[in-house]
């Protein structure tokens, strides 16, 4: 009896011990699957960055060290303006102003001390190359100028050198800029300024360099700059949906969204909501901020509409950056062919598809897109003079729209609104006609091009930016500003000057990048230039290249032998043969 009881007790103890052991083992319970709430996933609004920490001048520093420290203090000036003043004499402190364009020097700055160390007054000469300047509107303008600055240093009462005189404005090195500035794309609408953006259908990119602020999220910095409006290059050419005076109160991360709180004269009932969504979405996403997150826009801390919130989904399906049509064309013996994925293409319908030796400098506008006539329009220069346009349909026929000698007109370029643009070099005028609407050529004012030898004129696919080549060595980029009768070409700025190369062709890849083919003594050079800040990316080059066409990721080239079309392969950094028939010149619609 007792033995049985002991046995039972033993069993209970064993079970209890097993329970305790098993529960102690599984500290973290296993099992699943369970649905989980979407967690934050880090700070979506900022990007990590490092910055220069300025230190005050230390006792016993050499003049060169003092100037180096001063330069470092300039790099940190926006974060900590007090240190810089400690490098200056009281008079210099009064006189020096930090404003004006920021001078960007290359990293190989040299300091030369003129005078004997220990003198009461000593001069340190800074010499280097200015590689760019950052304007007040945050545009980054590449330049290449030698810089020679002199700093006069005097000994103060403690016997340490302080800078007595220096030129106003900040002096940064390229490394400082890389550290503290981020190239940032801002997006505006392609409509006429002041129109409210109602007839806008595309975003136009504006590239600026924004300084990272340690106390502010990058998202807020971007939106603050976006609200200020476009930089000089796009002034008057694009529409900002946010009225002047709009402020961003805060940008903060919610659970699965980024909440932007705006204030100012926004009329939530009247604003072009789709444009606002597109501008905010792309301005943030293209800079890798708030990727994949909903954006909620608030007005004065309240929901944007009095009754409803305004949220922007992570993916906007609207073709705000242009349709990526795959249509590509090439010419062969004066005829235009539609390119096929494999093998030889077929000639387009109508007269443009017939071989001849009359037309050259073709440009294609895809029909049904903006032109509205169902068939593609093909424009070309004729050896007989003038610019001719035909519909790529069986009943199409060549019609002359712009008159002029063949040598005087630049190859035609289609605008996305259906107009055809060219430059009449004899008269020094930009000409525009609208074959779709039946309007004949008209002169468009372009005062900044007056007196220049414009050799090419290409209108970008966003319909705003215009690239021209001046002579053989210079590329300028401007924008179509104004509307109606006041349309003009303006805001021209030199994008690139190549003295030792000869520009052979250029093509718009998208609204932001221009692909340029030039010939240097060493061979053909293909490069992609960001029209916003002049950043040059070298693409693989090939000695065979003669012409270029680009759209999105695709870059096609025609060869000197006019028997092949090459396609650039960015992965392998070379050009591969796309078509080995008698293909002459590749073409993409617009651009």
């Amino acid at each position: 009896m007792i033995r049985r009881r002991i046995r039972r007790l033993g069993a209970v103890v064993a079970v209890l011990a097993a329970l305790v052991w098993s529960s102690a083992c599984a500290v973290i319970p296993v099992g699943g699957p369970f649905p989980v709430g979407e967690a934050g996933g880090g700070d979506p609004m900022s990007k990590p960055f490092q910055r220069m920490v300025a230190i005050p001048p230390q006792a016993g520093w050499s003049p060169e060290q003092v100037v180096t420290g001063l330069q470092a203090a300039m790099a940190a000036y926006a974060d900590d303006p007090e240190i810089l003043a400690q490098y200056l004499t009281p008079e210099a402190r009064q006189a020096w102003k930090p404003g004006g364009p920021v001078t960007v020097l290359d990293n190989l700055v040299k300091y030369d001390v003129e005078g004997k160390i220990g003198d009461k007054e000593i001069t340190v000469a800074l010499s280097g190359t200015q590689v760019a300047r950052i304007e007040n509107d945050d545009t980054y303008v590449p330049t290449s100028v030698g810089v020679d600055r002199k700093f006069t240093l005097v000994k103060d009462q403690q016997g340490d050198y302080r800078v007595k005189s220096l030129v106003g404005g900040l002096l940064l090195t390229e490394a400082d800029v890389t550290r503290a500035y981020r190239p940032t794309n801002l997006y505006y609408l392609n409509g006429t300024p002041g129109s409210g953006g109602a007839n806008s259908d595309m975003l136009v990119v504006d590239r600026v360099r924004l300084r990272l602020k340690p106390t502010e999220s990058f998202a807020k910095t971007i939106i603050e700059r976006l609200l200020k409006g476009p930089s000089k290059a796009l002034q008057g050419a694009v529409e900002n949906v946010f009225p002047h005076g709009t402020r961003v109160e805060s940008v903060r991360a919610g659970d699965d969204r980024v909440i932007i709180n705006l204030s100012g004269p926004i009329d939530s009932g009247d604003i072009f909501t789709r444009g606002l969504q597109a501008q905010l979405r792309w301005s943030l996403t293209s800079n890798n901020v708030a990727n994949g997150r909903y954006i909620e826009v608030q007005l004065d801390g309240e929901p944007f509409y009095s009754s409803d919130t305004l949220t922007i989904p992570p993916n906007i399906s609207d073709p705000w950056l242009g349709t990526s049509s795959n249509a590509a064309y090439y010419t062969s013996k004066g005829a235009v062919y539609a390119m096929a994925t494999e093998g030889p293409g077929r000639p387009v319908a109508g007269p443009a598809g017939q071989a001849n030796n009359l037309y050259s400098g073709f440009a294609v506008a895809v029909g049904g897109f903006s032109v509205g006539q169902g068939a593609d329009l093909i424009a070309a220069k004729s050896t007989a003079g003038g610019i001719w346009v035909t519909r790529a349909a069986a009943d199409g026929r060549w019609q002359q729209w712009i008159q002029g000698a063949n040598a005087d007109l630049t190859p035609p370029s289609w605008h996305r609104d259906g107009t055809l643009w060219t430059y009449d070099r004899r008269n020094g005028a930009v000409l525009r006609c609208n074959p779709g609407a039946g309007r004949g050529p008209e002169r468009i004012a372009a005062p900044s091009l007056d007196g220049f030898d414009v050799t090419r004129l290409r209108i970008a696919r966003d319909g705003v930016r215009v690239a021209v080549t001046i002579g053989k060595h210079e590329i300028r980029v401007g924008a179509i500003t104004g509307s109606g009768a006041a349309v003009m070409l303006g805001n021209f700025q030199t994008l690139s000057t190549v003295d030792d190369e000869e520009i052979r062709d250029l093509a718009w890849r998208d609204g932001e990048h221009l692909v340029v083919l030039s010939q240097s003594p060493a061979g053909a050079v293909v490069k992609e230039i960001n029209v916003g800040d002049g950043t040059v990316t070298k693409l693989p080059s090939d000695t065979r290249l003669r012409t270029l066409a680009a759209q999105g990721e695709r870059i096609l080239a025609g060869t000197k032998k006019k028997n092949e079309i090459l396609e650039s392969n960015l992965d392998k950094q070379n050009w591969t043969s796309k078509m080995a028939t008698d293909a002459d010149t590749p073409l993409f619609p617009l651009g």
């Binding site: 220069m52 990293n107 490394a175 340690p214």
Partner: protein, 582 residues
């Protein structure tokens, strides 16, 4: 000086308020203490509370300390590892030779090589192309060379804790570079309003060219802090709940035990108050049920015994009363015969005459004894009643003295009277009070040994008192209560010279208590004795004190003068003795 006087006034009132508060607090504390002392349940619950709070606090502190330590330690460990990895990376990058650097970093565009410090900072802070945000911030500080300091995020050199920086610089001066330090402090970073609890790890990267880079890592530990404060809150809540639960359990258990005990106590109290038919309910068979059974048995036995005793006492009293009555009839006859003999004694020979006188005297005594016995049996039977009249007590005293004068003359004793001038009116039974006083006076004369007897009358608002003081042999210790016993004799060998029956003081005491008054005695050997009668002015009211002191004033004075208390002098009688201290 009005201000000071006002101040003094205020101070006094403040002191008064404080005093009041203190008094009230003390009173409340006293009440609480008495409640606590009286309730077993409260005691059990209180001790359970105290013990469980102690245990819970000790366990909670231990537990939270343990969790704190493990969490913080693991965090410090991982942080130190990360900081060390970064410092090694920095040291590596900065100690590369410049031409190596140029080779490794010069890019296709032919730009000047970037600063290795920038490169390594890009890697560490994740600000490079594909970098991801790190959970900490880094500050690299080189104060001896310009432009060699970097920071990530919003940290500034001012955020570095002073003590940490000093420790690093001390080591730098001693050329000890492999000793990183950590420091935990709340740091308010630029642009933030709230301080963030931050773990700062500082180390020195020393290069071969003699340059020192102080590298500080800032790890925010607000997550850990939040977690630990949650844990602490949970422990506190659980501990509190546990304490409350234990107290409730103790309350219930104690109630289970205490409520039958309380019922038994109440029953015992009622039993003690005379309700002999009080019984307890018996439920179950546990200890408490057995207690109830025993209690009930005890109550039954007690009631039986008391009943028997009462009956016995009744029988005895009846017997005394009957005997007294029965004796009276023959005594009357005997008395008449004795009277005859006594009257004719002159005709008898001297021997017979003397016998007749003796018989007469003893018969008188016998008669008065019988009367006293009858009187006392009337008290025992509860048949005595009062015949109340408002009377001046001084008159009663004078009448009693008049009655005693003959005896006093025989003992050559003189009376000293101390009477107040105004009348001392009281509602009393004239006859009984006179009898009390007579008894007291006879007693004083008998034991006064011929010395003066002092009679004092005192009165106050509620009571009147008469004290009779003799200067005889006095009373021994303990005799002051025995004097009121029936047939008690101070010295059994002494003869009764006056016709005392031995019942006088007993009857007097009964008379006094019938009035609601006190009769008390004080005596000291060689100092004589004093008897004090205190009566309420209005019949039926309770006495609160006596206008006269029980101890004679001269003795009291002498005692005070000597400055010491004689234990013998302490008040004697049981009833009302406590009020005679004044």
């Amino acid at each position: 000086m009005p201000p000071t006087s006002k101040k003094r006034l205020r101070r006094r009132t403040l002191r008064q308020i404080l005093g009041g508060v203190r008094r009230r607090t003390r009173r409340a504390a006293g009440r609480a203490r008495s409640v606590w002392r009286r309730s077993l349940q409260l005691q059990v619950v209180t001790s359970t509370l105290v013990i469980s709070v102690t245990v819970v606090v000790v366990l909670g502190v231990f537990l939270s300390d343990q969790i704190n330590r493990s969490v913080i330690e693991s965090r410090q460990q991982s942080s130190a590892t990360e900081a060390l990895a970064d410092r090694v990376q920095i040291a590596d990058a900065l100690s590369q030779k410049p031409d190596d650097q140029a080779k490794s970093t010069s890019d296709a565009s032919g730009n000047a090589p970037a600063d290795p410090l920038d490169d390594v900072m890009d890697t560490i802070t994740g600000s490079g192309e594909n970098g991801s945000k790190k959970r900490y911030e880094v500050l690299v500080l080189n104060t001896s060379n310009p432009g060699r300091s970097r920071a990530s995020g919003k940290v500034t050199p001012e955020d570095v804790p002073q003590a940490l920086q000093q420790a690093l610089r001390r080591d730098e001066r001693k050329y000890e570079f492999d000793k990183p330090y950590r420091f935990t402090a709340p740091i308010t970073f630029t642009g933030e309003s709230q301080p963030t609890p931050t773990l700062v790890i500082g180390g020195v990267v020393n290069l071969l060219d003699g340059q020192n880079y102080e590298v500080y890592h800032f790890f925010p530990i607000s997550e850990e802090e939040r977690m630990l404060s949650n844990v602490r809150l949970a422990i506190a809540v659980v501990g509190l709940g546990l304490v409350v639960l234990l107290a409730a359990i103790a309350y219930l258990v104690a109630r289970q035990v205490v409520s039958p005990v309380r019922l038994a106590r109440e029953a015992a109290e009622r039993l003690a108050a005379g309700k002999l038919d009080e019984r307890l309910k018996v439920r179950g068979e546990d200890d408490l049920a057995r207690l109830a059974t025993s209690f009930n048995e005890m109550a039954v036995n007690l009631a039986l015994k008391i009943h028997q005793l009462e009956e016995l006492s009744q029988v005895q009293r009846q017997f005394v009363s009957d005997v007294s009555h029965e004796l009276r009839t023959p005594l009357t006859t005997v008395r008449m015969a004795a009277d005859l003999l006594y009257d004719a004694r002159e005709d008898f020979d001297p021997m017979a005459a003397r016998s007749a006188e003796l018989m007469q005297a003893q018969l008188e005594r016998f008669e008065s004894m019988l009367a006293d016995l009858l009187e006392i049996s009337r008290y025992d039977a509860g048949a005595a009643t009062l015949d109340l009249d408002p009377v001046d007590v001084r008159d009663v005293v004078l009448r009693a003295i008049g009655d005693s004068e003959a005896l006093a003359e025989r003992h050559s004793t003189r009376f000293e009277l101390r009477l107040p001038n105004e009348p001392c009116m009281a509602e009393i039974d004239n006859r009984r009070v006179e009898r009390i006083l007579r008894n007291l006076l006879f007693n004083a004369i008998e034991h006064g040994e011929g010395r003066d007897v002092v009679v004092t009358v005192g009165a106050d608002r509620d009571a009147v008192a008469v004290a009779v003081r003799d200067h005889g042999i006095g009373l021994k210790a303990g005799e002051d209560t025995m004097v009121f016993d029936r047939f008690w004799r101070a010295d059994p060998s002494r003869a009764r010279t006056i016709g005392g029956t031995g019942l006088g003081l007993a009857i007097s005491r009964e008379d006094a208590s019938l009035h609601g008054g006190w009769l008390q005695a004080w005596g000291q050997q060689g100092e004589g004795s004093q008897f004090r009668l205190t009566l309420p002015r209005v019949a039926g009211t309770d006495l609160k004190g006596s206008p006269l002191s029980l101890v004679p004033p001269e003795i009291e004075m002498r005692r005070t003068w000597r400055g010491q208390m004689t234990p013998v002098l302490l008040p004697a009688s049981a009833d009302g003795a406590g009020y005679d201290e004044d």
